[in-house]
Amino acid sequence: MSERMGFFTDTSVCIGCKACEVACKEWNDVPDDGFVFRATSYDNTGALGASTWRHVAFIENGDGWLMSSDVCKHCTDAACLDVCPTGALFRTEFDTVVVQSDVCNGCGYCVPACPYGVIDRREGDGRAWKCTMCYDRLRGGLEPACAKACPTDSIQFGPLDELRERAAARVAGLHAAGRTEARLYGEDPADGVGGDGAFFLLMAEPETYGLPPDPVVTTRDLPAMWRWAAAAALSMVGVTVLATAGRRR
């Protein structure tokens, strides 16, 4: 097993060029996601989806632009992987989460399971798709296409531990420079998903970028959920016994 690889996306230096979106599509042969004019901002892909594995958000917040390249978080405790019934989703030797398209039967369970709204089923194709962190490039010793194409090093790729150190230093630097709104998102292994393999430096609250403020992998409540279901199942037995009672002999 290799060491855990990840992305650190420093949105403070993102210039919104969308080179990451284009490089991702080029390398991974991702089909177009519709040529939509959204009329809200320079954002024309809207959100991550089956055919959008990097998504650059544009936010006009009064005194400037916020830009951020969003991506699959490759969670430590990944809900999509937990709930996948076929084993199509798996964890790679780089501790990333990848869909095996030759196994996925398009049940769609991973789609509402993801607390970030990343993975989606591609219409017409019927299977679930998302960022693979360029699994094929990683195996060949290359960095993912988006990180390679990023002209400002907003997208940084590397061993996760190293990235976390680098991110902490960057936040400290920004704070020292008076940008106290800078904060890390998804870097904490104690958060609801055990920390993200792809984490961010944000310049505003997460929800401003369309990110959930406190995501949780719902599988962690699974034992409790099964206990409630067992209680309901037992009550069914009770009702059925009651319904057929008083009729012997």
């Binding site: 989806g49 958000a57 936010i59 430590t76 405790d77 937990d82 709930v83 996948c84 019934p85 076929t86 084993g87 798996f90 964890r91 790679t92 030797e93 996925c104 039967n105 398009g106 049940c107 769609g108 369970y109 789609v111 509402p112 607390p115 709204g117 194709d125 299977r127 679930a128 292994p189 055990g194 609250e205 929800e207 401003t208 970028y209 369309g210 990110l211 403020p213 406190d214 995501p215 949780v216 719902t218 599988t219 962690r220 409540d221 699974l222 959920m225 409630w228 279901a229 309901a232 199942a233 037992l234 009550s235 069914m236 059925t240 016994v241 319904a243 057929t244 009729r247 012997r248 002999r249």
Partner: protein, 400 residues
Amino acid sequence: MARERAMVPKAEFGSYYGQPIIKAPIWHEPHMPLYLYLGGLSGACGLAAAVEELRAGPGGPPATVARLAAAAAAAAGAGFLVAELGRPERFLNMLRVFKPTSPMSVGSWVLAAHGGATALAAGSAVTGLLPAAGRLAALASGLTGPVMSTYTAVLVADTAVPAWHEARRELPFLFAGSALAGAGAVGIVSGLARPETAVPGRRMAALGAAVETVASTVMERRLGTLADPYRQDGMMRAGRLLTAAGGVLAALAGLPAGPRGGSRRGQGIVPAGRGPAGGWPGSAGRASAGGPVRAARAAVAAARSGYAGARTASRPGLRELAGVAAAAALTAGAVCTRFGVLRAGRASAADPAYIVGPQRERLAARRAAEAARTPGDGGRTAGDGGRTAGDGDRPAGGSG
């Protein structure tokens, strides 16, 4: 967005152009809600078949109606399930692995076992072949049935959809009650031709409707703001009304005939005139001890004399009418509830207010607790880092 503010008045947060944060469930109508209904129905019918077999004892006549309904609903439900897949031809991949972390994987295996058992039990009841195996299968469906009816609640609750995940306690009871009511409706309708299923059918219908109504009421109370998607959904409201009306009708249909109706024996929902020779298949069989034919005759005779108050009621047919109306209302109610649950889930996923609001509150509460407990420590509350299984699911070998 005015709509969001109306739902969460206190919340002050931004969003990305009001766009959804999570992806709404992509499951289609009518496939998914009908599968939820049919799976629940099949489970409750399988359970009823098993309980009837137990009461009848070995050698008793099979609970044919329950066995047939359980098998038919399981088969139809499985059909909808396969049709819902993006790649239906790969449906067998569901049985490629067994993953306890995936309610859908667990459910696929339960459906496979339950579908097989109910098919065997029904086949045996229809053909008369392999009665012992058929009985064993019917008994097995008593174990798989309740799981079949309730696992779907875990399935939907184990998602990031707020209206589903936060309702994880009540949804199993909602689905259990709905399944019982649906199965009761089958018993009532089949009771027109086979009177022995009418009484348990009415009781299951009334009790199931009560469970469903209580569960949905408690759920909406406890959910607070997150109950809005349920309250605002027309299907959900229709389901509640139909279920309540059906439950009351089913109970009324079981009342003994009026004051002029002679014997008041069997108060409650047990019809008057139900004696030792009552029309329960197993009991009738054992009472007459003369084989299935005599048992059936005894059952029919008992039904003629006692069932439906025919002996005493001044308006024969009214009770059947009420029963059929109850069955129709309960079936429609059960189906509507499943549509409503899907739609409420979608609505809660589509509105970022339902994601951000509760998560912000959770964060604030946790930070307050941390600050109170260990000032300056920065440690997190226990349980936050709870790992889930699934880590063993690695590519090597493809786990065949």
